[in-house]
Amino acid sequence: MADYQEAPLATRPKTLDPNEYFNLSSQFRKAETDRASIRANLKRQYQTQLNNPHRKELIEDPALTRWVHARANPYLNFRPTFKTSLLGMLFGVVPLFTLYFVFKTDRDRNEEMRKAGTFDRRFALSS
């Protein structure tokens, strides 16, 4: 454990974190206890619902519902700033015009070559 070096951009796993074993300061321990108590409370709620013999319906997860709602409704908190409008233009407007021009010029050039008889059909499968 002493010479374990994690790869860049990666974290040390919690079980290899020396803080778990050697940090005895009261703030750190209190923080860990608070987190554990929140976790235990959620576990208790879940287990109560899970082991309820009269339960017929699915156990609804509010964290999941919130996540789905957050991902499905980004425009509730959307605000047009420089960066967001730039991204919107880049992904929505620029490809439209760029692709139109690219396809048009390529197609026109092909058309000219076909009219002039110089179009290369060596590998064309349709005969």
């Binding site: 990666a10 976790r39 959620l42 576990k43 964290a63 919130r66 957050a70 991902r71 908190n77």
Partner: protein, 189 residues
Amino acid sequence: MAGVGFRRWAQALTKGKGPGFSALLSGSRAASGPSKDTMVGPCPETAEERAAAAKKYSMRVEDYEPHPDKGEGYGDYPKLPDRSQHERDPWYKWDHPDLRRNWGEPMHWDFDMFIRNRVDTSPSPVAWATACKQLFGFIGFMLFMFYLGEKFPAYQPVAPKQYPYNGLYLEKGGDPEKQPEEVKINYEI
């Protein structure tokens, strides 16, 4: 009078949120479904808003960190560390073992990217620099050696096969009257 009524109706149409056509007509919404304070709200500014948001997402107030408010649509959703589910303890008794997640735990914004079938952020077995050096060093060395092999070939010298009688001039259908050109042969029988 009709004009005023029409404007109010248009305003109710645009402002009425929630399900049902009746909501659009009356400007109010149904009471079914989750209430607005349990769902994602705007980015918190004051300390009370932060505390309330932390409680809503079942996190400690000190741990709760909203996404920076750049108008990107995150709202008050917490910014969790970008760690994949691959990095979580495989031996702990999770409520949902395949997702390595407990019930009610706040989910990362990109949770569906970090599941165990997809993006993996766990550390590589060898240090990244070493791995890169070894791979690209080997490939570079092999490319260099093949280039040298092309430049300085090391096989027996070869030439096109030579046949006697002026390269079999008569056998190949040459004219018997004409004199064939002399082919210089490099062997003697």
